[in-house]
Symmetry: C2
Subunit: 402 residues, 2 copies
């Protein structure tokens, strides 16, 4: 929430935040400019003021469509500045200095966002040479912190992506249900069904529903399902009686908000061992979901799930950081304009993130045994309600049967 940014800036004595964007869109720029469809621009935020968007003539319409106050870089003398500047870094420093003076910024200035480091390292240095105080953080990202609690319209946007994501998952279910078993492989419409076929279906359904598959969907089976981030082998023929992990995280083309959901399927007879593991993952999922309350640290729920899995006899990275078997990752993460946001569920002592109303986050326990060709993960995206409990934005079954 923008008002969180005001508080964070005030508390740190930061007078102005600058979030630049050079060709590569990043979440902080998108958030501060309300999704401005420009290829280059600079968002300037003073405490208790709406952001100002500085852009270029060719994109003046896209800039003003944001509803923000907009100015052209040329109004601050950009053409002359870059013509005369000894280096790009010196040029940008002079431009920002001019903008800051014009808008009456006082106090230190802080840069945030994923920006070309070699350029902004120089810009910070040149701004200091011009007498500006440049805020050097220890790694803390105020924009990321302010993006944690979502506004109502952001939650609505994520809910909409969730509804469309479920439609894509439905299509995969339909194909798996319609498939027939032929020995060690699945047939669909008379021919061998590959993971690549399912991936192609997922890609086209994501697009058809107005979303973007920014990262490759995880669609893996057997041993690959036992490695959490394995994308899966597209040429592999889908097999019966092995776990098939579908982890899908599209973003909305219009709003840029992500959604994240994982289902583990098994077609045909389900091995007892897989059935058991799945029931333990589902137990952990439901326990974390039912226990989660605003006001608690997120890491508390990672502890809860580690306790549960260890009690059940599984290895965890809490007890053995080197293990590749058992429960080997974090319980979840925030979701928004990035697929991994605050809060963090990490057990690191540095992590004190709280669950707060307005957070949108995933709960996604899993158990992995690559050596036994087994892996199960269940994941849904939740919103933390004003009453402190969580509400799932998914509607479909968590069962192994597709």
């Amino acid at each position: 929430m923008l008002k969180d940014l005001d508080h964070l800036m005030s508390a740190r004595g930061i007078g102005a935040v600058i979030v630049p964007m050079h060709e590569q869109l990043h979440a902080s720029f998108r958030w501060l400019t309300r999704g401005a469809k420009v290829t280059r621009g600079y968002a300037i935020k003073l405490v208790d003021r709406e952001p100002l968007l500085v852009s270029y003539p060719m994109e003046r319409e896209e800039a003003s469509a944001t509803g923000l106050e907009t100015r052209l870089a040329s109004e601050f003398g950009s053409e002359q500045i870059f013509r005369d500047a000894p280096s790009p870094a010196a040029g940008y420093a002079q431009l920002y200095d001019a903008i800051l003076s014009d808008v009456g910024a006082e106090g230190s200035v802080a840069f945030f966002g994923n920006v070309p480091f070699q350029l902004y390292h120089g810009v910070a240095h040149e701004l200091e040479a011009r007498g500006r105080v440049v805020h050097r953080s220890n790694g803390e990202d105020l924009i990321q912190l302010a993006r944690k609690r979502k506004d109502r319209w952001e939650i609505d946007a994520i809910r909409s992506v969730g509804e469309r994501t479920e439609l894509v998952v439905d299509r995969v279910r339909e194909v798996l249900r319609a498939a027939t078993i032929d020995g060690d492989r699945l047939l669909y419409e008379g021919r061998a069904l590959t993971l690549g076929d399912l991936k192609q279906l997922v890609s086209s359904e994501i697009t058809r529903n107005g979303m973007i598959e920014d990262h490759d969907t995880i669609l893996s089976q057997g041993r690959d399902a036992g490695i959490p981030h394995s994308r899966g082998d597209a040429s592999a023929i889908v097999r019966p009686s092995v776990p098939i992990v579908l982890d899908i995280f599209p973003l909305d083309r219009a709003s840029g908000y992500f959604f994240d959901e994982t289902r583990t399927f098994c077609v045909g007879p389900i091995p007892d061992e897989l059935r058991t593991i799945h029931s333990h993952v589902l137990e952990a999922f439901e326990r974390a979901r039912d226990a989660m309350r605003a006001g608690n640290r997120a890491s508390l729920y990672q502890e809860l799930v580690c306790d549960l899995f260890e009690h059940r006899g599984y290895e965890t990275t809490r007890r053995n950081p080197a293990t590749l078997s058992g429960y080997v990752h974090s319980l979840g993460h925030g979701v928004g304009l990035e697929i991994h946001e605050k809060p963090s569920f990490s057990l690191s002592p540095a992590n004190s993130d709280l669950i707060e109303p307005g957070d949108v986050l995933t709960i996604e326990p899993g158990l992995y045994f690559p050596e036994r060709e087994l892996g199960v993960r269940i994941e849904e995206t939740f919103v933390v309600r004003d009453d402190g409990t969580v509400e799932s934005l998914c509607r479909s079954s968590c069962a192994l049967e597709p």
Copy 2:
């Protein structure tokens, strides 16, 4: 080319280049790691050595699939480091220090890439406190410079994206050819055809052909076609006898390489004024294409096209930087893992980019008259051959008739 990076590092006395990636993939990391499908990792490059990729256990398979030497962050003590570090910036500085010592890096270290500024600003400071010399550039990006000249396999990848992009353009042509004119609007399959219908077709065809529509395709008509970066109004019904600009720039899902192509269409009777403007744009396009030779400055061709358009009586931003009518942008840009790469065609005195064999670039003159509801642009992606001439990677007609 990687060998260009070796030369650039040597010439600047840089012993090690570090390209980090935290969740948001960027072109420099993709290039240096050969498209590693990891969500976090650090690429380390010493002079005359292959890059080293440092990653995390969950993504060890994706890391090793690159064929690069890979190590886990934990081998350098990352767990202990981040447990004990007073801040993320201090932790990363210690981790990089450990990696650099381990691989025997000498001399200064330079960071490149689009990375979280507030974190790396601190990392640079902490590394300096540890006695390392951190290279501060004036904005020069050595990875971007090294990415300029493409290897054979990169050109093949871009050629392949180009062939599939043409298939998408073909589909738009088919719909426009099949449409019928009903007064001031086009009908397709019995109902009014909107720009949104065409955009949806483009999106689904891009996906179906294994590509990603990372930025919204430009599909605009009339007045919006007269504003180069206007995305167009999706709800607008396509009209006869006005220019329809289709500027499409997908990237390949597998390789990450972009392609860029623009066509301007007109359905039905073509107004004389539009016909004339189009012929002048085509003339500029062909003149630039035929004249282009390796060894010359790219800006020479921007001058050539400005000369031509001014001779024809049009305004240009060379003569009048504030103009919004006439020829208002650069002649083209390099294309690769980013849609806008080196060489730059800018007339800025700071731009001395040369056309070189192995460059992949666009030529895209245009003329814009928003007040007259007119805009025409023609764009193709070219490779600069070893003989110094350019070869188009497009095959389709530049005519106004779809």
